[in-house]
Amino acid sequence: MFTRRHALGILGAGIIAPRAYAQARHVYDLTPIQIADGMWMIEGSTDYFSMQNGGAIVNIVLIEGDSGLILIDSGPSLRYGEALASVARRLDLRGVSAVINTHHHPDHFFGNQVFADKPILSLGETLSAAVSDGDAFADNMYRLLGDWMRGTEVVPPTQVISSGEVTIDGRSFTALPLGGHTVADLAVLDRQTGTLIAGDLVFYDRAPTTPSADLEIWQASLNELEAINAAQLVPGHGPVDKTRAAIPQTRAYLSWLEHTLRNAAREGLDMIEVMDTTLPAEFAGMGAQPQEFHRSVSHLFPGIELQELPRGN
């Protein structure tokens, strides 16, 4: 099969940009911020994937374990994974000891390749979804990010994490098997610091994405996360939340989204007309808007419309 990835491999970077220019630009500048004792976060851009940000739009968490750093999510590409590995070695000479993938979206696990010799843990359905959707995700990522993706191969997680109280590299976590953003979304509570790493179940000041979403299940997951009353929360995208604002914000956006799409279907609007909807001020300022709203119309409107329109035969 001839794909864009192969085209890139055959033709080289010259088709995207002059080689020197490409090499100068395709460097991830990852800065770890300490967010708790023995815990660092690399905060992603709140924009959509672009040739400028190289797909570094995701939050990564590094946590001290007994034999190295436990990495939660691994970023969008091989090159990103390599940059992560060197950040980890600067924080702890022993580097990364284990990897957890919160879910199977490519910006969260395409750096796995670099850590293939370590245990890579996820929920069981995340593992199978990464296997079945990985190649199609990769083709899209090559299209969106071009040479940033050079050499990236899909490396799915290798071990299924059990739910509840788990110990990974000597550190205790509560693993919460949830869903709704995708078929399986893992949230992890670090027992020692009370930090909840929520994956993409929670977005903060960045529009939630819905390509694999089930809104009802997602809302139920948010309720479970809120009940934890974590000391602080790391969303999948957006800044760390110490004021318990991120979960209500994500919930409010998803509620508004569903309500807006249902109303549009009841009024007989066409998808392009729905995309013209003016976003309320509280959501218009989120990162990656109105792009994510437009994407959500594509993902969700056809299904909602079928539910709302009566049978005609």
Binding site: T3, A136, G268, E273, S298, H299, Q307, L309
Partner: protein, 261 residues
């Protein structure tokens, strides 16, 4: 971040081959510079004498196709009088012709969804009753695979029961009609699955008057979904939907004013 689960051989490679083609009778300056327009002007529209690009033909789609199997498009040619038909097509793709709309009593405006195979110019070519053509364009980027991917329907085994199922209704006050017909719309380009498409859909009044009709081709999306627009307040009764696919299955339905679920 993407739902796309299909990857196909780029089925538009054929279009990059050189075509031995005489210039059209009326050579236009294509605002999209796609390199394929001359060919479609001759092959698809029959090389008309009087034709031009015209901004009154508005073609609206997303900048980039999020789901290559379901790309929304809104064509609005209400700025042109006496519209006979609107030919909607993609410059690059294994089957360029998406559909032809005959608005008849409806406004020259149509909402639809289609399968896209790669980034391409999309055209709406409007023919008026006196034989003049007016063409509008937009460009939609895409990852590819839309035309050569098998229909979702084959992932489930109840597709035969749902074949021809219609959802939809009218909104007389705003002059809208919306219809979705359950159908795999197989292009014949995926694996060994033969072409299986709805070929025509007509919309009639209670008294049997033809209000609008559509000729569909392979690139129309699985479970075709259309928005029709009438002058607000003029739709008095229900709309009868009548159609047929290439296997001879009849499609029958009724769109009525009424409550959505």
């Amino acid at each position: 971040m993407f739902r796309k689960t299909v990857v196909g051989l780029s089925c538009a490679l054929w279009a990059q081959g050189a075509f031995a083609l005489d210039d059209p009778k009326t050579k236009l300056d294509d605002p999209m510079k796609s390199g394929m327009w001359d060919y479609h002007q001759v092959e698809l529209l029959g090389d008309p004498e009087v034709i031009r690009f015209d901004e009154r033909v508005i073609v609206r789609g997303p900048v980039s196709a999020e789901d290559s199997l379901n790309v929304p498009l809104l064509v609005d040619a209400t700025g042109i009088d006496n519209v006979k038909r609107i030919v909607i097509s993609a410059d690059y793709g294994p089957i360029p012709h998406i559909l032809t709309y005959y608005p008849e009593q409806a406004e020259a405006k149509l909402g639809l969804r289609f399968k896209i195979d790669q980034g391409t110019a999309i055209r709406a070519s409007v023919e008026t009753n006196d034989g003049q053509w007016f063409v509008g364009s937009t460009y939609i980027d895409a990852a590819g695979g839309g035309c050569t991917a098998p229909a979702h329907a084959y992932a489930s085994d109840d597709w035969e029961e749902k074949l021809g199922e219609i959802h939809g209704r009218l909104w007389a006050a705003s002059g809208r009609a919306r219809v979705i017909v359950d159908h795999p719309m197989d292009t014949g380009l995926a694996g060994n699955i033969p072409v299986f498409i709805i070929q025509n859909l007509a919309f009639e009044s209670d008294s049997g008057d033809l209000l609008a009709r559509l000729e569909l081709f392979e690139p129309v999306n699985e479970d075709p979904a259309f928005s029709l627009y009438f002058e607000p307040g003029t739709l008095t009764g229900p709309l009868h939907v009548k159609g047929r696919d290439n296997n001879g299955n009849r499609i029958r339905g009724l769109l009525a004013e009424g409550d959505t679920h």
